[in-house]
Amino acid sequence: MNVLELKDLTKIYSKGDNEVRALDGVSMDVEPGEFLAVVGPSGSGKTTLLNIIGCLDKPSSGRVVYEGADLGSATQQQLSDYRKDRISFIFQSYNLIPVLTVVENVELPLVIEKRRDKAAVRAKALEMLAAVGLEGKANRFPRELSGGQEQRVAIARALVKDPSVVLADEPTANLDSRTAEEIVDLMKSINATRGATFVFSTHDKLVMQHARRVVTIRDGRLVADERS
């Protein structure tokens, strides 16, 4: 079964009398364990697509089906719950919580899920930190890390709850090319070892080369879908 099915998605933003068609009839399926890049120029609709896939936004029309469940008629609360249970995010600016230590940041999704077993939560977070190569930085604060290390923490945070889908909006845009490649390698290796589905947007050709599937969006339309 597909982990995700998008059917004829349209997203229209109204600005005064003008309508902006951010997505225009996008349809695609995503299989479990895919490592998929969404590419396209700025303003093409990549972020809108990721927001809708991430249940952060609702389409104007069309359907979003997660593991067979149609979320088209879901309320905001149901979307929030779905997000909490099944989807994780990696952000361009890492967006770690500055007052929490590295390990506490990684624990955050489990804490939001209100998991009671503190020892198990800590163990899981440390396991994820080890998986991203930051086992020695658990008690540091984000400000004490480099950009690449912060993004590794963000990846650990995204994976700690074993999500069905990890969404990453331009995860390497703030990193130098070497670190960007390291991060993509890390994501790819986690994708391979843990089977988590990755959907990420990028401008970076180098990063694109690592994707096993590249979907190109232009003016809100899906114009290419290539598998390597």
Binding site: S80, F89, L100, L108
Partner: protein, 419 residues
């Protein structure tokens, strides 16, 4: 909830300056409220103590008929068989330490040139000294003594007005029970300066024997005055007085026993107004603090919009976002309120232990006849501290809810896009 506490606490500590400024404003407000309450209670205490010690006593026993006619200070309607009534009062309540008879009458006093009207009081010098502190207020000469008939004690202002000193003679004239006017010559045996302005300005005391001779009475007691052991606080004093009056009243059928609560009811009504005024002050100060809290939390929300977006993206509910920022406000409020209680306690300590000379503060300003002189001591009032702390928390809670609600309403996508 534990994670919310952790994030909230660390954010409060992260912006120390902001937290400290808001906390200090709250602390000063609450501290001032606690101190003001302590001083006001102290003022009430000193005022009521002076009333109890110099004019009213803890409770007064009079006949209902005398009370109806008391403005004319009649020589009728006195307490029947005062000796028996005094014994009954002493037996009525263990807290009562003394009872004394008094007879009040209006007289004229003359230095042979000028004459002035006075409120004269006939007293049993020995018993009266057990109820009132007049002997301690004698600034020259001595208090009355049954062994020295013919002496009077007058207020210091009256002595000055008449230009007399201890040892000088005065003529006192008054209406008698026979409805004529009698006059006699008395030596000024002592001059008193009390915290009660009207005693100083027009008070005259003479022993019962002299008063009986002047007025044609025979131990007439317009009132019996009652003394009791000192209670530790003003409220306890008032409660004790009410209890004593109730018991004495039950033991004295046909007589009316009024406690200091009734005797000083005008002052106590004014006290309630003062209390409202002090609450108004804390309200204004805390409103200023509330604006500070709204501002602090709003700044916190504004600085952390993307953080809110992340928390929401990971599934934190708007309710928990609201809780998070409300908690932050409450923490600032708790720190401010706690600081306020400590500051208030420190200022209370000073006023309770060291006190403040009223003369040094207000000089010789007339306080509208209020018996407010001497050293003003504050009173500990734990209830006020609890009220101040709780009020601070409530203000912080209400103030934090406004920006917290705003944070909870943010759209996740807008929050994540926020730069």
């Amino acid at each position: 909830m534990g994670a919310l506490w952790k994030i909230a606490a660390r954010n409060v500590l992260r912006h120390k300056r902001r937290t400290v400024i808001t906390g200090v404003v709250m602390s000063v407000g609450i501290g001032l409220f606690i101190m003001m309450d302590s001083v006001l209670v102290g003022m009430d205490r000193i005022t009521l103590d002076n009333m109890i010690d110099y004019t009213e006593s803890v409770a007064k026993v009079r006949t209902p008929e005398y009370l109806s006619n008391q403005l004319g200070t009649p020589l009728d309607y006195g307490v029947p068989d005062p000796e028996a009534a005094m014994r009954a009062i002493m037996a009525a309540d263990g807290r009562i330490t003394a009872v004394a008879p008094r007879a009040r009458f209006v007289a004229n006093v003359s230095n042979y040139e000028d004459s002035l009207p006075v409120v004269a009081t006939a007293v049993d010098p020995e018993l009266d000294a057990r109820v009132f502190k007049l002997p301690e207020a004698v600034v020259s000469g001595s208090w009355l003594s049954a062994a020295e008939p013919g002496d009077v004690v007058i207020g210091s202002g009256l002595a000055e007005e008449l230009g007399v000193e201890v040892g000088d003679y005065l003529v006192v004239s008054a209406s008698t029970v026979y409805e004529n006017v009698n006059a006699d010559e008395y030596r000024v045996g002592g001059v008193v300066f009390t915290p009660m302005p009207y005693i100083n300005d027009s008070g005259l005391f003479m022993a019962y024997g002299d008063a009986d001779e002047l007025l044609g009475t025979d131990g007439f007691a317009s009132e019996l005055v009652v003394a009791a052991a000192r209670a530790p606080s003003l409220d306890a004093t008032l409660d004790d007085a009410d209890g004593i009056a109730a018991r004495a009243g039950a033991a004295l059928p046909g007589l009316r026993v009024d406690s200091i609560t009734e005797l000083a009811k005008d002052y106590l009504a004014m006290r309630a107004m003062k209390s409202k005024f002090s609450y108004m002050i804390i309200l204004v100060v805390l409103l200023i603090a509330a604006v500070g809290i709204v501002n602090t939390i709003l700044m916190s929300v504004y600085a952390r919009i993307r953080e809110i977006g992340v928390l929401r993206a990971y599934g934190m509910s708007p309710k928990d976002i609201r809780r998070l920022f409300t908690l932050e406000g409450l923490m600032v409020g708790a720190v401010g309120s706690l600081g306020g209680v400590l500051l208030g306690a420190l200022m209370d300590w000073y006023f309770v232990e060291v006190g403040m000379s009223i003369g040094a503060v207000i000089g010789s300003i007339d306080m509208g006849g209020l018996p407010l002189t001497g050293t003003l001591y504050g009173e500990w009032n734990p209830a006020t501290m609890v009220v101040g702390f709780a009020f601070g928390l409530v203000v912080a809670f209400v103030a934090a809810r406004i920006p917290a609600k705003r944070a909870a309403r943010l759209e996740v996508t807008d929050a994540l896009r926020f730069v």
